[in-house]
């Protein structure tokens, strides 16, 4: 039987890229992953377009609507002051998303840079840095955070900086550990032998190999940041009123637990779903990109 050879298919760069994308995203994520991604997209959309979405005024108290249940004139009900819960959720998403993104970026950039430098230069710098990080870790996170917030204030940016500061040790550790293993590789030695400058080695050889494992923790870290911010808001120490926050809404709802459960439950469920989605998507992406786990 004649073996008929199909003509060799020459793939364009774009096709190649598309196939790589399909290999990473196309197989085995399951509907849960897409559902979670969709939810995150909705939350991000609300945060971005809160001002233009057709919701009521989140800070306007309408006494007649006080503690309205869901599916009344307020779709998700109203809180103890008669403010629309849906509108507050949509505007509160803004706080969670902005703080989540900013705090993780701060931790990632500062912590990551310190970790790479420590792993590359070793010596006194590394030892001093690790000692300082150990000392920061000796304070329970909420204690440190309360002190920081008391010091730098309660604006959106200040809260982001304070929470981001908490993430520096963790990111520095991840970056340092990865740098240590990269620095020993032959291509770094080769670059050194060819006389490449230190900044060039750090940026061209080390960074690309460290950045992926550091980024991989980003989504899970963001979930934790949202939890931390909400705990702060619950204690009344996050972004100040009248800006609605999810944690603040839950705190407000606690007062009406006996009479109007939905005031606490609705923001709780919203936040739970968001953090769960972040954890879920983050975990899946990490195991997909983790060479050791995905058996590439």
């Amino acid at each position: 039987m004649l073996h008929k050879r199909t003509p060799q298919k020459i793939e364009s760069r774009a096709q190649n890229f598309a196939r790589a994308l399909q290999q990473v995203f196309g197989r085995g994520f399951g509907p849960g992953f897409w559902l979670a991604s969709f939810w995150l997209f909705v939350v991000a959309f609300c945060a971005l377009f809160a001002d233009w979405l057709p919701v009521r005024d989140p800070i306007d108290p309408v006494i007649a609507n006080r503690l309205n249940g869901p599916f009344t004139s307020n779709i998700l009900g109203a809180d103890g002051l008669g403010r629309d819960i849906l509108a507050r959720l949509v505007h509160g998403a803004r706080v969670s998303v902005v703080i989540g993104l900013t705090a993780v970026s701060i931790g990632m950039i500062i912590g990551g840079a310190l970790g790479v430098l420590a792993g590359y230069f070793r010596g006194h710098f590394e030892r001093a840095l690790m000692a300082v990080l150990d000392i920061i870790l000796a304070f329970p996170w909420l204690v440190l955070l309360l002190a920081l917030v008391a010091f730098i204030g309660q604006s959106l940016f200040a809260i982001s900086v304070a929470i981001g500061f908490l993430w520096i040790p963790a990111y520095a550790r991840v970056a340092r550990a990865n740098t240590l293993s990269v620095v020993q590789r032959e291509y770094v030695l080769a670059a050194k032998a060819m006389g490449a400058s230190t900044p060039r080695i750090l940026i061209r050889e080390v960074l690309p190999n460290v950045i992926l494992p550091v980024l991989a923790y980003g989504l899970v870290a963001m979930g934790l940041v949202i939890i931390v911010e909400s705990a702060l808001a619950f204690l009344g120490l996050s972004v100040e009123a009248p800006q609605p926050t999810w944690g603040g809404m839950i705190s407000e709802g606690k007062r009406h637990l006996a009479t109007a459960v939905h005031v606490a439950v609705i923001p709780s469920v919203t936040m739970f779903l968001t953090v769960l989605s972040l954890n879920f998507v983050g975990d899946r992406l990490r195991s997909r990109f983790d060479v050791r786990e995905s058996n590439l």
Binding site: L137, F139, P140
Partner: protein
């Protein structure tokens, strides 16, 4: 013993740095303590200056630090200018509540995490394993205060089994004390539980693939015995370490949970002191907590090397 001597300078250095960091953190807080104590409005500058002199605020920062550290070493953390109470007394009076809460939370978390993790690891990949892991995953997405609110909603508001707030000392009525402590401890435990379970499961799966487990199985040893005697023991070391490291999380959780349930613990004292800007109190409590945390982890590390020959010899 040799290891203890070698690690001692490191411990002392850490504690010194922690105390300095605490002092700076609180000293740099905005607001003049003297003005805060006297009340903001309508106080003569002379009165403020006199109080500053009395509190020693006119002296350089470093001298104040060493002064404070020196008395802290003798157990004197100063006297709160707001309540007139000795800081150390205030902490010690509230310490039993927080310790009881933390211990109960850790015990509850371990009591559930260990059997569940063993089941999960033994039937790794099964439907049971996926259910347990899934629930653990969900639990990790719930903040402590949310857990507390839902426990209050279910067990205090709807069922009325436990009180929503309040505290009765163990010495007055053990039964009522436990009834009051259960919900707060449970809300702290739930989050720790998920973390312990996840870690122990991974650890156990790893251990179960070792040769000596296969040997024990070949000898015909029953599965539960293999799990409890051969598999759990090596994993218990890493569990111990995590419990030690997670103490910071438990303390952070205690601040919120004590506030929600209105328990007279150290965490609530700290929160209230921060709100009232009682700086000396804040300083004392933060130093106390951080020192306790460093010491406990040092002890855990030490016990670890005493119990585990692998660490002892490699060191």
């Amino acid at each position: 013993m040799k290891m203890l001597l070698r690690k001692l300078p490191w411990l002392i250095g850490t504690l010194l740095a922690v105390s300095f960091f605490t002092f700076m953190l609180v000293s740099l807080l905005p607001g003049d303590p003297a003005v805060l104590i006297l009340g903001a409005g309508g106080v003569s500058p002379e009165a403020v200056a006199a109080l500053r002199l009395e509190l020693g605020l006119d002296r350089p920062l470093l001298i104040r630090y060493f002064d404070w550290l020196g008395s802290a070493l003798t157990g004197d953390l100063g006297r709160s200018p707001m309540t007139g109470q000795l800081v150390m007394d205030a902490i010690l009076a509230r310490l039993p509540v927080t310790i009881q809460l933390g211990l109960m939370a850790i015990v509850i978390a371990l009591a559930f995490a260990i059997p569940l993790a063993m089941l999960s690891a033994y039937f790794a990949g099964s439907r049971l394993d996926r259910t347990i892991s899934g629930v653990g995953f969900a639990l990790m997405s719930v903040p402590g205060f949310m857990m507390a609110i839902f426990l209050i909603l279910i067990f205090a508001v709807n069922l009325g089994w436990f009180p929503a707030t309040g505290w009765i000392p163990f010495s007055v009525s053990p039964g009522a004390n436990l009834k009051n402590a259960l919900l707060p401890a449970l809300s702290l435990a739930m989050i720790e539980l998920a973390l312990y379970m996840r870690l122990l499961r991974t650890d156990l799966i790893d251990t179960l693939q070792q040769d000596y487990i296969t040997l024990a199985r070949a000898k015909g040893m029953p599965s539960w015995r293999i799990l409890t005697r051969h598999a759990l023991k090596p994993s218990s070391f890493s569990l111990l370490t995590v419990v030690g490291l997670q103490l910071g999380g438990v303390i952070s959780g205690a601040i919120i949970v004590e506030e929600i349930f209105a328990l007279p613990g150290v965490g609530r004292l700290l929160y209230q002191s921060i709100l009232q800007r009682d700086l000396l109190m804040v300083q004392g409590i933060v130093l106390f907590i951080a020192t306790a945390y460093v010491l406990v982890n040092f002890l855990v590390d030490f016990c670890y090397s005493l119990l585990d020959p692998r660490v002892r010899y490699s060191d």
